[in-house]
Assembly symmetry: D2
Homo-oligomer: 387 residues x 4
């Protein structure tokens, strides 16, 4: 049970942080969509706002006046239940509403929400409200990675003054953690907020396995490149090999070879690679190929969850071998909120851990992130396992 004041505070801080993340941006940076998976920052600002307007204020706040009748069309992401929307690939074609108006929309909805929350939230709405808050936290991570993409794919490679460290280092030696075979409990229990895809607590049987206590580093991955890993099809999935050939992939995203040495772009600009930092910005296909080259494999999401207490995490999203599938007994909510997770449970891989861009609240050990295997713009890395 959350006290009203705590709830208002959680809500307000979340809303504020989203805006803080955008502080270093120029107006133009809010607008562009250089690839379909990256949304314009002003779209994130509007979309997270629309979520509260659509699912809380419109149906539940008496006398609420919608800010603008066309904004539902502009800021709906993928909720089929809620009506038509700008197609995803067109988000970067919209110069209007302008940034100032989007902030005005935000502040209007934030104020209305605070007023609404002060009156006390009925239990039946609490779930939706918390989803709205955590939804915005997820978009905070997307904002960080989308901003990086927008600048890191600009030929000028501009630097921003951002609030997070992209390349923290794990100082300990690499070692294998050994986990014995047995039945383990997986999934979320308790009363804390979690998404429906983490429920419910259930048993899985795991065979003996070993898992590394440390993420693969840049230095280790440079060895893979130097050994011709990107040219040896035997290390790759068929789909991965095709992807790498068609897109001429020969290094992680944001890597540049300058005068024979590797550099990467981080939001503070182009810099020499730190060999000790954990590898980032690789696809599942690259993670898999690297693991093959090391005669190892990727852990499953269950192996990861069972062994996570033995290592740090929160540095990189770690590709697992697991496909994103429903847990036993999974049911989605009725209506539009039911579209949140369930309809994506095909053709994606699970990532575990959380990254430097992730909201701290989301680096819980049952959290299941998921992406298509070719995507790289998140801070994605890997940890080795073996049977």
């Amino acid at each position: 049970m959350i006290h009203t004041q705590n709830l208002v505070q959680l809500f307000s801080e979340t809303r504020q942080l989203t805006e803080d993340i955008c502080k270093p941006l120029g107006i133009e940076d809010y607008v562009v969509q250089p690839t379909i998976d990256v949304s314009p920052p002003k779209w994130h600002l509007g979309h997270t706002t629309w979520f509260f307007e659509e699912f809380i204020l419109k149906p539940h706040k008496q006398g609420y006046r919608i800010y603008h009748q066309d904004f539902a069309f502009v800021f709906n992401s993928y909720y089929e239940n809620v009506g038509k929307r700008v197609i995803r690939s067109d988000r970067g074609n919209l110069s209007r509403p302008g940034v100032t108006q989007v902030f005005d929309y935000r502040h209007y909805v934030t104020a209305e929400m605070k007023e609404f929350l002060q009156q006390g939230v009925p239990d039946s709405l609490m779930e939706t409200l918390l989803i709205g808050i955590h939804h915005e936290k997820q978009h905070q991570e997307l904002l960080r990675t989308d901003i990086k993409y927008i600048l890191g794919n600009n030929p000028l490679l501009p630097a921003l003054n951002t609030d997070w460290i992209e390349h923290p280092i794990e100082r300990h030696q690499t070692d294998w953690i050994t986990i014995p075979a047995g039945i383990y409990e997986i999934g979320h229990a308790g009363t804390d907020f979690c998404y429906d895809n983490e429920l419910g607590k259930h048993q899985v049987y795991l065979g003996d396995f070993q898992i590394s206590n440390k993420l693969v580093t840049n230095a280790e991955f440079i060895e893979f490149i130097a050994a011709g890993g990107y040219q040896d099809f035997n290390l790759w999935h068929a789909d991965g090999w095709t992807w790498a050939q068609e897109n001429q992939i020969t290094a992680p995203m944001y890597w540049h070879q300058i005068d024979g040495s590797w550099h990467y772009y981080s939001t503070s600009g182009l810099e020499a690679i730190d060999p000790e930092a954990p590898l980032a910005h690789i696809s599942y296909y690259e993670a898999f190929a690297y693991s093959q080259w090391k005669d190892c494999r990727l852990p499953t999401e269950f192996e990861w969850e069972v062994s996570q207490k033995h290592f740090n995490w929160g540095l990189r999203w770690e590709w697992t071998e697991s496909a994103y599938l429903p847990y036993p007994g999974y049911t989605k909510a009725a209506g539009a909120i039911g579209e949140y997770n369930g309809k994506f449970m095909v053709n994606q891989k699970v990532l575990r851990g959380g990254s430097v861009a992730t909201s701290p609240v989301h680096t819980r050990h049952t959290y299941r992130n998921f992406f298509q295997p070719e995507l790289r713009w998140q801070f994605t890395g890997l940890r080795l396992a073996r049977s």
Copy 2:
């Protein structure tokens, strides 16, 4: 340990059956490739032959003279280790080698193989040899379904005199089989032939579940259509919904509505649908949507394997909820043969059971078939499960 004479007989019968399947074809039917997943029958005839030439005769039969130096280029499917090849989408652009020459190639290689087998096969080659034979059996199924596709997508809807019954019926009443929670053994054991993806025997924990003793029938699926199942996005995965919209899918493959009643094409021609026959030619997306509409789900491949002794099978490939992933401890063979299964273990779903087009040897309960979720040209159906 297989006796030489048994081996020669297995080999010879397999080679003969492939040709028998093609007996009803006109020469022109051997040539076309109406969609990328369907190969021309003469390509199947050549490719299964090339497999023996490339992996057995060329490296192991003394004095073997290659039939034609360019045929490796023409008939290699996807073995990167073996060199360049005609790209898959171009198989239907090749009028040469002609059908007569492809049969000549077959007979040459069959004769050489028999001679080679008579001398006794060294143990080290047995695995490759058996893969070659079972590989050809898999292509027998593809031949049947590709022939159906070639004719069933022709505007004349021609009938063939084929050797298999497409729509056998399960006469028993539908009922739920209840399986208690526990640890179960999964995977292949013993000395019989199996593919590497079925190995090794291992334990999984399953919660309580129920699974239907009968496949979903055409009549049941017609109810789904009539209820607007193809129009209700809440039943579908996001990818499935996009697929259905873009391809204007409103019924299973081969279904035609004529004067208000459903018909389907089978290789014996266009006919009224048998309502009691098990549904066929649906995608995973449709199977999933149907299960949602019934407030059920698809079984996992493990649930299927554990409960299979309680039902018939061998009628339809049954879509499962499981992604196609390696079993614990999976390792692929060295060299080109290692490309057989492992490199496809991403972005595909597992099917279990076997269909009316499947070689009887392959309808074993540990056999793992796999396809991309949108494919429908196999005899694919579904069985419901629930927790």
Copy 3:
């Protein structure tokens, strides 16, 4: 011979007008590229500046310091001779350089140019200088039409306070002008500036023909729509029919049917169509289909040039039946400037006249505009002719 002061004034006014056109824009409006043919306004501002830097200042002004080494990469449009460039479809993905910096770039180059021009321009440079100025005037038209596209394809249909009237009216009655057969002179003569594609003056033989003294109006085109013109394939070219079907074209660009009556978007907002105004924003394919429906045809560019003194123009770019081809004896300049016109002389149609968005200097009767037949975002209309 142009006096230095006149030249400086011409240059300065041109530079200023470009910026004036952008005055009503919000910062975000400068950034987006909603379709490949539409460039972001800030790109136009930078590109016209780069032209002077690249072709005048860099090679000819002593001690000139390039503003930014990467701007040639960012702002080159299609000059293969000058090096690599951002691919055209990526112009809208660049948030940097920002609008302020682009204006700073403009002002830097403008000032350097003025200083350079004050010293007197050598004859050998005059041609390139004038091309630079007229090039910028061409981009002023593109700015106007691109701004209209950016706003007119935004779901909010925002209005701008622009400086031009989109829908002026021809008040006179429609009538046929009769021109007798004979040899006529075509092309530019004299010492005024013109582009290489207008040179040189040459003779063509024309048969008798009639040409309308008035552009086709909106009211007339509404009759075509009402008569099913968009549904009658006999009126269309094969390519035009395919284009219309694939893009679901059923009205000119910017037209909306609201409660049964036609409206269009102009930069001052959505408004009811003025039936008397000349039709705008149609493709060549639509112009051709309309002419067929009227049992007429489009004039050739020669017929247009010969008869232009009998009618107004400067309202709409008028599609002609002529393909864009070199005049007899056409030769292109050496080097990058030679890429200006010649390399586009295939697969395009000639338009004559000039529109409400065109620089007055470019509405000369020998001016040859050219576009692919499907493009509609310019103010394009038509005038009928018949033999």
Copy 4:
């Protein structure tokens, strides 16, 4: 006025020649469509037959029984007036009707036509009948070039025993023919058959020009290649350059460099290039680039027609600089026959002359062939001109 017996003979010989051209084919060669512009030979056989059935027999022969109700769907090429049809890219996906049945269809229609013709053709039908015959002659040329494409793009490069010589040689020295400026008559006059696009006779004014008395030879084009012509963008149109880069074009179609010397595929197999033979299988873009490299240009179709009496022709289709446009006063026939030529008069270039694959009847000096500028599978070459 054509006598009945002459007409029957013309018809019969035309029908027979089409079948003779196919004599060397294997059944499989009739079926495939390796690229969209190449139709399967059996489709040509059926389509030319359907033309007579659809436009002569069905509407005009009393009691005519249609051979097969679905063949109009299968064999209609592009006549929108006649109903739906197999989409062009699917022609190679049809194994049925088989070759035997297509020949049966041919023979049925041929016999019915002969019976019909014996009764005397009413004047009102003569035009359609002659179009049918000449239409089939055009498809004879397509048959020859499509057969070449089918075999020449097969990795086995099979040889056929064909009835035409691909590489005849012009023995005379290259020289310029000088034509004085003046008014010339262009187009077809008289009572012989011609297509509507050659009508009517009209005047054009031409300036002085020179035109080569000889086609460009292979040896000359090899010099262009050796001089880096395919790598020098200044020689190319923008569209041509893009086309060449995207398709990695570095030589004419069918050319192979083997051990440092150029070979080409002709239907008699792979052979060393004859340096003296006229160049074939180039696109308009390559023709244009070559002409630029020689500081010349391509002739217009009018220049070609005016000067053609001074040179041989009938060896290569010669790309001209002219776009395919209607002659003054052009009108198309009513109904489906009106779709024959007029609807293609955009986005194509005119070719003049006729090639080794062309029906002799079609090598008349007013004949206007037309293709998109990138197409190369016809025997296309070039002749230089200059002002």
